[in-house]
Symmetry: C2
Subunit: 193 residues, 2 copies
């Protein structure tokens, strides 16, 4: 999405350690015009995919998931990163390593929220090594539901998680794929450029 690429290049900040900071418009503070356009684009891309549910993981994927679910008129679910006092009953669980937080956590979805009839669009803000996404794919498949595909705001192509999923046959649509970024010059190259 050219609009998103331009915004990342103009307003994103490249930090050491493969960190791309876009929190002030893409996932923490959210530019609402951008959110609406991203949701419409993902909804358009998956319009014929039979999506019955949008799944994401807390916290920074939730705004996009809500906007996509509103566009597609299907329910949304978010996976929690820890068990809480309010999650009772049986849950699907996957272990996920966090690139940002450098720790391993449990990703949890109550079993009631996914069924074998569901065709699930998994959305998230970032895709790097694909750890969170692989955890969500595993949870969807454990439930007997099928994965319609993945919808991502920013994929860091050079970290390989997206291409590994594509090689396994999953559809992955990323609105911007960063092919390289330089924390000294701030230069960002997108796939296809």
């Amino acid at each position: 999405m050219k609009f998103l690429e331009d915004k990342i290049r103009a307003e994103g900040t490249v930090l050491p350690g493969h960190v791309l900071k876009v929190g002030h418009f893409a996932n923490h503070q959210i530019d609402i015009t951008l959110l609406r356009e991203m949701a419409r684009e993902l909804s358009r891309l998956y319009a014929d995919a039979g999506v019955t549910k949008v799944l994401t993981i807390e916290a920074s994927g939730i705004a996009l998931a809500a906007a996509v679910a509103l566009e597609m008129d299907v329910p949304m679910v978010f996976a929690k990163k820890n068990a809480t006092a309010n999650v009772s009953g049986e849950v699907y669980c996957a272990k996920v390593a966090s690139f940002t937080h450098k720790k391993i956590y449990d990703v949890i979805v109550p079993k009631d929220y996914l069924s074998a009839d569901d065709r699930v669009l998994i959305v998230d803000d970032f895709l790097a090594q694909g750890n969170a996404l692989n955890g969500l794919v595993a949870i969807v498949e454990e439930s007997g539901a099928s994965v319609a595909g993945c919808g991502i705001i920013i994929e860091k192509g050079f970290q390989g998680g997206g291409d590994a999923l594509r090689e396994k046959g999953y559809r992955v649509e990323s609105l911007a794929i960063v092919e390289s970024m330089n924390d000294e010059t701030g230069e960002i190259t997108f796939r296809g450029e």
Copy 2:
């Protein structure tokens, strides 16, 4: 909102310890028709309040905040419950005690995301003792911005947090106010009934 009250009564579960479980339609798995109607109602209630930004707290307030921000066409921000590797620079911070998780955590908003010109609508899924909301109000006022009001899905009226805020002069609009609930019979009474 009658539609929401009916849904809470039909599908909510009252558990011991003042817990009302509505996670399968209101805040964890989200009924998208309900989300749209709730966002429209809050947008309608605050249409003339000069709102420039919607603020919530991760994670279960984010879907509502996104939907309200889309309706009102203003940016949204969510407060994080912990500092992360991606939050750099100066932040506003408030200490908040969690009713659900029974612990105290830091609520953090980067200073860049709030300015003295902002008129902030604070939204959240639940309002009980008001700890999270008081933290968000404190952060908004520390930034020099003003509080347009609060928009809540379910207020537990009997826990007093909403009325305490109203007594201090804040506008609090809750789409359903539970006046009493009984974990033995499952009976729920709403304010005004």
